[in-house]
């Protein structure tokens, strides 16, 4: 018994060291999304290219969707843009943009200059949709399934590595789900 007590400080130290060492490898900016699994929030926003046209959730395509939140004031968005152009060619999902707290002219010029990867872009000038999405910066990308539920939220710059690791497996899973649900309705 007394031997155990003698080693108690060492044991406690080792346990604490393991705990704190684990803490070092955690990403402090990783924030669990409160919205995963929840329905995409309702919105009424004008289209970036046409301020007389109102967009809502009904304008989304039926299948899988990717919604990218961007702005011209966001350096990361510029870096990410070529990758968005690349995935825009992917036929498995529709890519939409949310122009977040930006000026319409700047945003239009941006799309003119760097090309437009989006099927359409919602013009969220006062960040209301952004707030409902829990956006706290840009860029952020949301994966929305065929039932208009948010399945993933990614805060940060999309690139090939992130895409392969986090998005490809989810897309495969979602495609399977779409297939299953269409089988069920048929059967």
């Amino acid at each position: 018994m007394s031997k155990v007590i003698r080693f108690l400080p060492l044991i406690l130290f080792v346990l604490l060291a393991i705990l704190l060492f684990r803490g070092l490898s955690l990403d402090p900016t990783a924030m669990p999304s409160a919205l995963e699994g929840k329905a995409f929030p309702e919105f009424q926003l004008t289209e970036l290219q046409d301020e007389n046209k109102t967009l809502s959730k009904d304008d989304f395509a039926d299948g899988i969707k990717l919604v990218n939140v961007w702005a011209t004031w966001c350096p990361g968005c510029k870096y990410e843009h070529p990758f968005l152009l690349k995935i825009a060619r992917d036929k498995r999902f529709a890519l939409y943009g949310v122009n977040y707290k930006d000026a319409r002219d700047d945003a239009l010029q941006w799309l003119e200059q760097y090309n437009n990867p989006f099927q359409f872009t919602m013009f969220d000038v006062d960040g209301k949709l952004g707030m409902d999405l829990g956006v706290y910066g840009a860029p952020e990308t949301f994966v929305v399934d065929h039932n208009n539920r948010i399945r993933k939220r990614f805060a940060g710059i999309l690139d090939e590595a992130v895409w392969q690791q986090q998005f490809e497996p989810l897309l495969l899973q979602l495609q399977q789900e779409v297939q299953d649900s269409s089988n069920n309705t048929r059967g």
Binding site: P28, M31, G127
Partner: protein, 158 residues
């Protein structure tokens, strides 16, 4: 003579200390020009932005941060207060969007029991350990032998 030299020094030091002390009272946070209908709403606003964490800036609350999202969320808190929403509704609004992360004062749930009651638990455990050690060392005291007692008496009588 020496007092006369020291006097101005003391005065300077007290001025410096006073300046340091009062500077701690100055609020260096961002200033919004919100108008409140009454003092209670103002207090509630200050309490809410103090307890809500800025999602972007990690270690700041909404009151301290000047990042865009903190400004927006302060505005949101203000608007909701004027709409007559309760503190609970406002906190839930934030949690629905940004998760439990935004709470600097976490809710008491099964996941946060350790956080809330851990310190009390550690104090109790520590107290028990100390009690055990104290009791043990008490029982170990042995009476002096006759020889030791004689030596002690010699020393005391010297």
């Amino acid at each position: 003579m020496t007092l006369q030299i020291i006097k101005p020094v003391i005065k300077q030091v007290t001025t410096l200390l006073l300046a340091l002390l009062t500077s701690a009272l100055v609020n260096a946070g961002p200033i919004d020009t919100y108008q409140f209908p009454d003092e209670v709403t103002k207090k509630r606003f200050q309490q809410l932005v103090y307890e809500l964490r800025c999602p972007k800036c990690q270690n700041q609350n909404l009151a301290d941060s000047n990042s865009m999202i903190a400004v927006d969320l302060r505005k949101q808190v203000y608007d909701m207060l004027l709409e007559g929403r309760s503190d609970m509704e406002i906190v839930n609004f934030m949690v629905e969007r940004y998760g439990d992360y935004v709470l600097y004062k976490p809710k008491v749930t099964a996941a946060t029991y350790l956080l809330w009651f851990g310190p009390i638990g550690f104090i109790i455990i520590g107290g028990i350990i100390i009690a055990i050690f104290v009791r043990k060392s008490n029982t170990k005291t042995q009476p002096l032998t006759a020889e030791q007692q004689r030596q002690l008496d010699d020393i005391l009588n010297e």
